[in-house]
């Protein structure tokens, strides 16, 4: 396995992570100012900010590997050039969906970075260790709300269940395999999507079993895939246009 090939595999992994974080951070930040209650508005916005901050750190790793600078990468690509899973680009039409997505996605992220703390690619292992604290809070937040709203009233339970049913096929798409899967595993960079999926499945099943909610079928054949290779829903391009609107007014501006 050549060094160059190894880099391509690594870059693909980093783009998935960074693009997921950027797009989900942006989607979650859409609740800023209109969250269900002031305290939750602040907490959810703060976590969205953490995610965008984490995406910046991963884009910086990509820059060190020869990619363009983080602002260019974040604000000038079109939807087909993004490697995020479709789950993160879906509009946050209601708060229960945003919470359920936060729960499903953030568990995968915590598990992914927990695995990456042991990555043979040292710079990635180092940032994974650094992110642990933030991710721990994000998952604590998600679990607390799933348990609370998944056991509270008939209305809360039915709304959470509906959101869960809608989100699961997209959540399965998080684990769409990379064309470089085997290289990442044998290169000791990452344990691979299939292994991550196993861990994630166990963790979310455990939390959901503490509620009155029913976890839908996690058969991978139901997965909404394509996001990792640039096939996105109609929701991503408008999001990118809105996100880069200010940047494009004056791309060279110093902030």
């Amino acid at each position: 396995m050549g060094h160059r090939q190894n880099n391509t595999a690594l870059k693909e992994l980093l783009y998935r992570i960074a693009d997921d974080l950027l797009i989900l951070g942006h989607r979650n930040s859409e609740w800023t100012g209109i969250g269900p209650l002031l305290e939750e508005d602040i907490a959810f916005s703060s976590m969205a900010q953490d995610k965008i901050g984490q995406s910046l750190v991963v884009y910086q790793l990509l820059q060190e590997l020869g990619e363009a600078d983080p602002d260019t990468v974040a604000f000038t690509r079109n939807a087909q050039q993004f490697h995020n899973c479709q789950l993160v680009e879906l509009p946050g039409t209601d708060y229960e969906f945003s919470l359920v997505r936060h729960f499903l996605y953030d568990h995968s992220l915590l598990d992914r970075f927990r695995q990456l703390t042991g990555s043979g690619y040292q710079p990635l292992a180092a940032i994974a260790k650094k992110f642990m604290g933030e991710l721990r809070y994000h998952v604590l937040h998600a679990d607390t709300f799933i348990k609370k709203l998944g056991t509270a009233t008939d209305e809360s339970k039915s709304r959470m269940q509906k959101a869960l049913n809608h989100a699961i096929p997209f959540a399965l798409g998080i684990f769409e395999k990379s064309p470089f899967e085997q290289e990442l595993i044998t290169g000791n960079i990452f344990v691979g999507e299939a292994h991550l999926f196993e861990i994630w499945q166990q963790e979310i099943s455990k939390i959901v079993s503490d509620t009155d909610l029913e976890l839908p079928d996690l058969d991978f054949s139901r997965a909404k895939t394509g996001g990792r290779t640039g096939k996105h829903t109609e929701h991503l391009q408008p999001l990118l246009e809105e996100m880069s609107e200010v940047f494009k007014l004056d791309p060279g501006a110093e902030w």
Binding site: G33, E39, I42, A43, Y137, K148
Partner: protein, 210 residues
């Protein structure tokens, strides 16, 4: 009429202006409150930071973390329902509440529990954790505090909290604050807005007249 806002998120909500009905405030339309105490450095006493509205102690803890420990450093957080905080009368200026409390303890057969005592030394400042003691109730706790925790410095007001009512931070939770000192983007000062504005003005109008 539909709101046309500069904020696309607001437009997406499709809010319709409703002027026909006046907004009526409903009593108890807020969740209950919880008092939040922070420890800013290891070995420093916990002090009151403020309140959050929340449905449960666990959600109060989540909210308090982002509400009151977004900046600086934090090594621990306590959260307790406001209804579980027992409060004495508040004194003026140099007068200490302890001078108004009896010295004698009432012998009791009731079982003893742990209580946390907080002191207010100055109006407008935060209550600070003064110590922990065993007592049979809140009233008993403040009388015992007079014997055990009164240092002679005037205490304007005392809060007594039963330790079992407090949602505390476990050692494993401490990691959630680990990157706090690096979050300089949360400090207004790190954007150096004043400096940039000055440069911008100089570029536009030349250097300031002396």
């Amino acid at each position: 009429m539909v709101f046309d806002s500069l904020d696309p998120r607001i437009n997406r909500l499709n809010l319709h202006l409703q002027r026909q009905e006046e907004y009526k405030s409903v009593s108890l339309d807020q969740l209950p409150t919880y008092e939040v105490f922070l420890q800013l450095k290891p070995d420093k006493e916990y002090q009151h930071a403020g309140i959050v509205h929340a449905a449960t102690p666990d959600t109060a803890f989540l909210f308090a973390k982002e509400q009151f420990s977004r900046r600086y450093t934090c090594t621990g957080m306590w959260v307790v329902s406001s209804s579980c905080v027992w409060v004495t009368q508040c004194m003026e200026l140099e007068e200490s509440i302890y001078d108004h409390l009896p010295d004698d303890l009432h012998e009791t057969k009731e079982s003893m529990s742990a209580y946390d005592i907080f002191h207010l030394y100055q109006r407008g400042k935060q209550h600070k954790h003064a110590g922990k003691l065993m007592a049979s109730g809140h009233g008993d706790a403040v009388i015992r505090a007079k014997q055990q925790l009164d240092q002679g410095k005037p205490v304007l007001n005392i809060w007594s909290v039963k330790t079992s009512d407090v949602r505390t931070t476990g050692k494993e939770d401490l990691e959630i604050w680990s990157t706090l000192p690096q979050k300089s983007h949360r400090e207004v000062i790190s954007y150096r807005a004043g400096e940039k504005l000055k440069l911008f003005k100089e570029k536009k109008h030349g250097p300031p007249a002396k």
